[in-house]
């Protein structure tokens, strides 16, 4: 107990804040991009659908290190995209917090996209048709009919996206590296201290991750159960 207390006092809390910030930003980006992508794919023809779905799901299927490798190649300052970004906007992705966000977003995006897509596909089309005959604009239909009906899928997609983004390790370590205080996330911290044989610190951060994960999921489920009164329980 005293040992744990000692660890707590000495602890450098920066990994927690870096992870939370990264997770939150990546979730927001994935949320909008995922819903947007899902909408487009659901409306697309069968061939476009097959290809687009494959590309959008790819980051989930690839090992994170492979995704990280590809991102590293793309954003490297020695290559066109990275050079252009740095040259025109002075933006650096490799070895920066932005890299954490890019890596976490790319890896967590498919979870949002897949869940949103499944949610859109199970929507009763008659609701959309009815809304149209009632004169509702497509925009209003999207926000007041489609999104609420797709609610459970979108909520669970968001939860999964956040949890995945929070704990992202492989791609992040390759793209953003592990710079304490800047890109050192909890997962990277755990990996690093384990290498030094410091199981106490590792255990502490594992505990932190566990607590956060539990809190988020319970909170989201509570929020969902209130908002989604119209979904029948069975």
């Amino acid at each position: 107990m005293e040992e744990l207390f000692g660890v707590l006092q000495k602890a450098d809390w920066s990994p927690l804040f870096i992870s939370l910030k990264t997770g939150a930003v990546a979730t927001v980006i994935s949320f909008f991009l995922g819903i947007f992508g899902a909408r487009k794919v659901v409306k697309a023809g069968p061939k476009v659908k097959a290809v687009a779905d494959g590309i959008l799901t790819l980051p989930m299927v690839l090992p994170p290190t492979v995704a990280g490798f590809i991102l590293l190649i793309v954003f490297s300052l020695r290559r066109p995209v990275g050079q252009a970004l740095y040259g025109t906007f002075h933006i650096k992705v490799v070895q920066t917090w932005l890299g954490c966000i890019v890596a976490a977003t790319v890896i967590s995006f498919p979870l949002m996209y897949r869940n949103a897509r499944a949610a859109f596909e199970q929507i009763d089309v008659n609701l959309v048709y009815a809304a149209r005959t009632l004169g509702m604009s497509e925009m209003r239909i999207f926000w007041t009919v489609i999104i609420p009906s797709a609610g459970p899928g979108i909520v669970s997609g968001t939860v999964l996206t956040f949890s995945r983004a929070l704990g992202e390790y492989g791609a992040t370590s390759m793209l953003a590296g592990n710079i304490p205080g800047r890109t050192g996330t909890i997962s990277q911290k755990i990996a690093m201290v384990i290498q030094d044989g410091d199981y106490k610190t590792a255990g502490f951060w594992v505990l932190v991750i566990l607590v956060i994960a539990c809190l988020i999921i319970v909170a989201m489920n509570l929020a969902a159960s209130k908002k989604l009164k119209h979904i029948r329980r069975y």
Binding site: D124, N126, L127, Y129, A130, A131, R132, T133, L134, G135, M136, S137, T144, V145, P148, S149, G151, K229, H230, I231, R232
Partner: protein, 344 residues
Amino acid sequence: MALEVEIRKRIGGFVLHSEFTADRGVFALLGASGSGKSLTLKCIAGIEKPDEGRIVLDGHVLFDSSKKISLPPQKRRVGYMFQDYALFPNMTVRKNVMAGMGRNPDSAAADEILRRFRISDLENRIPSELSGGQKQRVAMARIVAQKPDAILLDEPFAALDSHLKWMLEGEMKQLLESMGKPAVFVSHSRDEVYHMSSSVCCMEQGKTGETLELHEFFRNPGTRAAALLSGCKNITAVRVLDDSHIEAVDYGLVFHIGREIPKDVKYAGIRAHDISDVPGNGWDNEFRPSSAVVQEDPFEWTVYLQNPGGRVPIQWKTPKKDGKRPEVSGPFYLSSRNIMLLRE
């Protein structure tokens, strides 16, 4: 005040060809499932797009393939009642009713409609907390609140218990007639059509037939398909023998018709209730079945009368008056007035 429809659409091997004009009053599209009734409604509402044709409502062109006009459903001002009502599950009754009232709905007008449809006390419920009849009232209130120029109803009674139906049918008919807008009512049930509508058009395999006044439709449906949809149980192929006689090929009988027989008559229809085992005034046809099978129904007897030269029996329905099983011994009678002459 009329809805003129003339559209064609091909989906795979299915070809839709709908052509009719629905005036004020309830116009029924009667057909088996899969005959294209719902597709026709969807084309009128703008949910589906026909390949070619024209849809005109009160002089406004909603769709015209030759002029490349196809208004979006939002601009057609057509109320559509779905078979499952398609109420928005996440909205309260009040919000559902107000959904079609535009961006700035008038709250007092909504109150008035909620009252009129007796759903004021349900206004804060969501659809999953309503009964089938209540859902239907909300759906109808939502359409009325939208102030449509025409109303389309897709099997609106299919999801209801039968003991409630008669009341709702009456209410709906009254409402639709009081609105004075063209209403197209789609159903596969001849009883519903009889209760609800003033004119009938049959649909078979994607094609509409001619439009008939309701009673005329049941008296003289015109075609074999329409006679079947009107509930006629006995239909036989016929051969015209002379000016006033036909041979009912399937029954091995010759009927006296007593009126002019059109040239294109291919079938004859006889309703199971129009046959009697006692002669009536002017019942000028008589036949003697050689055998019969009696089937007991809840409130009537159905008897299958087999004639000596017949391929199929004639169905006869007679009420259960004293509970006694009907005896089939003597001749049966049939008035030539009740023999429906049918085209292909």
